[in-house]
Amino acid sequence: MEHYIQTPLNREDILRLKIGDIVYINGEIFTARDEAHMRAIEFMSEGKELPVEFNRGVVYHCGPLMKMEGGKWVAVSAGPTTSARMNKLAPKILEKVEVMAIIGKGGMSREVIEALKGKGVYLAYTGGAGALAAQTIKKVKAHHWEDLGMPEAIWIFEVENFGPLIVGIDAHGNSLYEGINKEVEENFKKIIESL
């Protein structure tokens, strides 16, 4: 099933999604990788104000390649990064929000699946499809924490039909990856015996 979702997110829109569904996002998304997650968690624990709103937001695991053109930042190539690096970090953010979506690649751990229950989804984008993704980024609205370097800074993008994204983890504890990983483990045992 295909869904077109507008930001800021509504809980009902998110709860409706099922693993394997196709999603396109319209509105605003922001990038955050390892360093931005760590700083955001630090700010949250110290009660400092964050430059972006995680609640009802769409967090994109992406370290974009950006270029300054005529005094404005442009996203040149902006595909997803490996989400598993944020496995320990994402739950600490998810516990502070009511609804949130994550876009990335490769899937996330059981801990994250639990943390997403009742409030969020994980959306998979084709890894490496940076040039394709950049075409749906209509505007770079702002960027923060520039001192972290271009890939690790937070970049806020205005997007139009950003996708196709595949619902990898839904808000009800289901993960497309877990099913596949189980099959892969079983296949692995058979391969090892045959070699």
Partner: protein, 273 residues
């Protein structure tokens, strides 16, 4: 006579070519995968990959935002005379490529994580020199992505474990799952030393991916029975090629290194005289 400026511009050109297009053998392997894959989610991911390669070439922008860490191979012919700072010229070429293509500044200090912003740092660009026959200078660039590098592995196996090598490779791929952006290419170094095996594995990735021997084909077939599929979302095609390079090793050793490469197996070479 090879000159400084020529090396600077060639390094820039090679990065431009590698970042915005894939070599014919790699594109063919991806197209074959798209045609043969039956799983619909897997097929849609392969379609996005092919569309992305097309967009990258048309828009003249890097196909992936992870424009890689600059890895460079230099083959110096024995009859060639170089009377300038070759290392300096390569560094200048990487700086130019980073600024003008542009490339994402990926190189950071390993402990402070500070980013100098130009892909230049301690031992980066990584320059691998080989002394060869002839009178020319061959430059090869391989922008290497972080996701696939992170799940690469090496093991000092025992001389009695030669028959266990394919199992080790399959296990490395299983553990990598969807993280390295499958369908992947596997560079495997067997023999040499601890570091030498890893170097052979990386060099193997420069080969034509459509040419495999019986041993390599056997490992590829085993890997593809895992069912990881494109992007780890399931499917028949997890790897597109297995490329093995051998080196003599110590009689007490069997080093084995598996260097995983994402579908964007970026490589470009030029020969200067």
């Amino acid at each position: 006579m090879v000159e400084y400026e020529q090396v600077v511009n060639t390094v820039y050109d090679l990065f431009y070519r590698a970042e915005t297009s894939l070599s014919e053998d790699v594109v063919r392997a991806l197209k074959n995968a798209y045609e043969n894959e039956e799983n619909p989610v897997a097929k849609s991911n392969l379609e996005a990959i092919l569309k992305n390669i097309d967009a990258s070439g048309k828009l003249k922008v890097p196909m992936c935002q992870d424009t890689g860490l600059p890895v460079i191979f230099v083959d110096i012919g024995r009859e060639l005379c170089i009377d300038f700072d070759l290392k300096g010229a390569i560094i200048e070429g990487v700086k130019k490529a980073t600024k003008e293509i542009p490339l994402r500044p990926n190189a950071v200090h390993p402990l402070t994580r500070k980013n100098p912003g130009n892909n230049i740092g301690m031992h980066i660009p990584q320059i691998n020199v080989d002394l060869v026959e002839g009178d020319s200078l061959k430059l090869t660039v391989m922008p290497k992505g972080g996701g696939s590098e992170n799940v690469s592995a090496m093991k000092m196996m025992l001389p009695s474990q030669v028959d266990q090598i394919p199992k080790f490779v399959v296990e490395v791929v299983k553990n990598a799952g969807g993280k390295p952006c499958p369908p992947i290419f596997l560079g495997i170094g067997i023999g040499s030393t601890f570091d030498g095996a890893a170097k052979l594995a990386k060099k193997a990735l420069l080969r034509d991916v459509s040419v495999m021997d019986e041993y390599e084909t056997k490992i590829l077939e085993a890997v593809n029975k895992l069912g990881i599929g494109p992007m780890g979302l399931g499917g028949d095609i997890t790897a597109l090629a297995v490329l093995v390079e051998l080196g003599h090793c110590h009689t007490a050793s069997l080093p084995v290194a598996v260097n995983i490469q994402c579908w964007a197996n970026r490589k470009a070479s030029a020969i200067l005289k």
